[in-house]
Symmetry: C2
Subunit: 635 residues, 2 copies
Amino acid sequence: MSYGYVGKILRVNLSIGSIDVEKFDENFYRKYLGGRALALYFLLKELKPGVNPFSPENKLIFATGVATGIPLPGMNRYAAVSKSPLTNTFGESYAGGFFGPELKFAGFDAIIIEGKAEKPVYLWIHNGEIEIRKATHIWGMKIKETTETIRREVKNPKARVAAIGPAGEKLVRFASILHDMKYANGRCGLGAVMGSKNLKAIAVVGSHKLRFADKEKIVKLAKWASKAIKDMPGPHSRWMYGTGAVLLPLNELGLLPTRNFLDGEFEHAEDISGERMAETILLGRKGCYSCGIMCKRIVKGKYPYETDPDYGGPEYETLAAFGSLCGVGDLNAISYANMLCNAYGLDTISTGVTIAFAMECYENKILTKEDFGGLEPKFGNADAMVKLVEMIAKREGIGDILAEGVMRASRIIGRNAERFAMHVKGKEIPMHEPRGKKSLALAYATSPSGADHMQNAHDTLFERNVEKILPLGILKPLSSMDLGPEKVRMFMYLSMWWSLFDCLGVCKFAVMPHPAAVFSISQLRDIVKAVTGWEVTIWELLKVGERAINMARCFNVREGFNKSDDTLPERFFQPLRSGAMRDEKIAGEEFEKALKLFYEMMGWDSETGVPKKAKLHELDIGWAVNFLEKSNNKT
Amino acid sequence: MSYGYVGKILRVNLSIGSIDVEKFDENFYRKYLGGRALALYFLLKELKPGVNPFSPENKLIFATGVATGIPLPGMNRYAAVSKSPLTNTFGESYAGGFFGPELKFAGFDAIIIEGKAEKPVYLWIHNGEIEIRKATHIWGMKIKETTETIRREVKNPKARVAAIGPAGEKLVRFASILHDMKYANGRCGLGAVMGSKNLKAIAVVGSHKLRFADKEKIVKLAKWASKAIKDMPGPHSRWMYGTGAVLLPLNELGLLPTRNFLDGEFEHAEDISGERMAETILLGRKGCYSCGIMCKRIVKGKYPYETDPDYGGPEYETLAAFGSLCGVGDLNAISYANMLCNAYGLDTISTGVTIAFAMECYENKILTKEDFGGLEPKFGNADAMVKLVEMIAKREGIGDILAEGVMRASRIIGRNAERFAMHVKGKEIPMHEPRGKKSLALAYATSPSGADHMQNAHDTLFERNVEKILPLGILKPLSSMDLGPEKVRMFMYLSMWWSLFDCLGVCKFAVMPHPAAVFSISQLRDIVKAVTGWEVTIWELLKVGERAINMARCFNVREGFNKSDDTLPERFFQPLRSGAMRDEKIAGEEFEKALKLFYEMMGWDSETGVPKKAKLHELDIGWAVNFLEKSNNKT
């Protein structure tokens, strides 16, 4: 009897049109939980090192976790995982919404996509039945048309459709996957992997009920959570203003990425804030499956940037990436850019950073008006910004180069443009400034999929608020500016904790240490126990998180990545130009010391960053030792 | 407001007669919990490396943990800790009974004893009051007379008196400390440290009530535990026959140490079993503070070995050490030897092993009848065995050499007697056979205080019974004979778990994974939370256990111990002579491989066994890095 998971994994080979269902035992689920760790299990065992991410040999995995689909706030996420065409590393991206729970209701914990269809297809999964359907007629459609067409064809207006848009088809290296038109697996270009397989979409419907070992406890927790969310102090809760609520505080701290990370504050911050959105274009709020937090925005942009509310509204990342980072203070333009990204299937962070890069190239005369086909993309030019989104999605003009991401684009452009390319391992930097949140320097440098802000809780959260992470054994607050051994330790523990979320399928907004979280650390343990019936401990759970981190590290080691790739764009070692953190920078020596200490704390070789065999054995993944041995890297 | 701990530590300097009370904050107790870790905190910070254990510069610490004194089964233990005169390493020994709880009721979590009194003294601690009293008139007395005399003097028949006997006074290197005449801090010669300080005893009485954060929960758990103990299947519960219940099963498995570890089975096993004891000399059972498990034996040995029931009865370790290990099948003689040990203050394990060593020397003509003053201590000679106990206690004749322990005695005797000296780092091997419980090889070799059976749960327990340790993430049973990476991992996790018990003050019989345990792993977490009010996790708790292991390792590194000391007596690398495990041995290469893997898993240098600085930082004991640097050892 399985609780919390279905016990079945779907494997679809698009080259030969085969469909298989594989079963795994309880220990498999207890050891990997799902999501990140589960997907890595298959990628490590099955993927040939050095494979081209766009080749049929690459695999794309959609994986829920044992918490996905619990009727509690934040328990609805799933992973999309593959070798990333943006970074050539382990690629991962998580989405909430409804697709993950629906996949489980349809009878599967995960889908492994292999090969490449001869012509465009989509998958139709309904209650254990799987069809590979032709999609030639849908190819080229934007996300909304795609979704609506498929829903009509499967005769189910409630089908959850995870689709790619024209950007994914055209292999834009940061193309996204969207379901229900607004829930994105945004990062790492996994939409392009889908495109490379001629897979336009996956539609899912299910009515299978998930079994929980202690249903009563879940009901009790749901009631408790519902009240807890209602009791959150209204105007102070960030969910009133969505994730955009952090924009003004960050600006005040001097930590709002502005003009391609040259500045730490933005003169038009108020105009692009969550508060301003609520006063102007906000139509409503939207939650994910069974979640009352309602962090999503529904907006209606105004002339000349009218937007379709079905595509949702901009998150903080998007507000900053198209706003302050491009010097744009026009909320309507930002919302329009957001809609274009969701319609064409583009990651808003990478798109925004790529455009900011292009703007800085233009301002420094590395790219000219001619290069931009007549556009004059100075920082602050909202029209140019919006136009560039579309050019990237369609690979038109300069957009064809920018669609490669800042790392590749800067190399193509040459003329020292690399100094403006804000990325780690090819993935564009998200909207968090490591010069004032020092552990982010480690997070960006060591994240297995390139610069990522969801690997580790940001250290500003704990300067005053350490009681939330006491149960992890972090007993005193540490300054945001600290990058000493105690901070490295906090970083390590919180990385394991957040990695666990990505295995379980749990939202980082719903569980401590997020300041507006509903559930405590101990409650997450109780939830996993109630769902699965396993007498788990936080020890066991954190070790799953650590296991996943090490599996991801093994993946990258096998692909030839090493310590020299765990670095930051040069700009972060230079002083911030403006704002409350003006002149702050990452000290190179301090960073290097922290990085080595982190490696050693993790049980990785301090010189190479390669996991030691003993660490893999300690994490009960001795089988992965062989993969390290097969690579050319020192272990 | 402190819950679970008092917040006060008593410091007594016997050289100058000073008495100080030191206070520590909540984070100190949360980080170290008590016992092992708390004592190591002071030893590391205050003890000069290389100090002679018998010098006034050595310190002796009695430390309770936050769980000591909870009115629940098994929550009553305390640590006696010092630099050991037997091993020159970190020395530790734990006792249950009533002294630990009483110390807290008297207002102190721990006592640090420093210096050396000019003349014999004892300490009288009653409700926060402390007196250093003269003990010249008590010096030389056995434990019972000592206890009774002091109780009369302090006018309190219920005073808990932890005392040494003549053996401690005479600095027998394995002298013990006993309270209430039967609860022993047996191992590591801490009674001799007490003797070297001219400290005859510590008497304690207190009426301070411990505060618990959630008293209701404790009451609930107490009721639950009381029923759980009652419901244990009677004849199958080992407590019916005490720890002696394991003797026959071990004999059947071929794992009963016999004739100084030459044999694995004993022809008179039934005669010295827990079952036989129950049929013959057993008067009754006795528990520790607030514990219904009642594992202690009260016996009355018969002519010519009449014993005093006030001294309790032999445990399994004692039955085997004086019984099978010496080839003695006379339960009365064993009980008499046990009584002598408790009267003179001797560790029964070390005493038995030392006598078995002497017997093997005699049988091999390395020592003669003349050397033994006319005794003929062949294996099986019960009279000689009993006589030798007394000679050791009084340092009479050959007893003066044997009182040094087998390591030193074998060196004094010479003539290759070292091959019969069963010890690690000078501490005599307890009654568990590593050739058939392979992880014990690692436990004996790496225990910070020399060979010890309480560092790690024995792997026979989990061959069939793995569900008890699932919450630690050990998902499948492993054979007792396995010493591969999975076993090393299990060993590491269980070492951390049991190290935690020694910090908390918790009995290893009361909490999983002991087969007859009352509380589960999760319940221990609930208990710590209810007592302290801290929202602890098993993660946080295990890290305290790991912290203590590393602090102990630092202590030994500083004292000059290194990998070459983490070994086993040569005999264990040779085949067992008899029994179901006949011909089994520890394979040297396998052991070496497992040892190095364990080091690396622990974050220790795989060549030297020295903890890496990163590990100390990860455990939030960065302050200990300095101590490693000051030593001459490579870090």
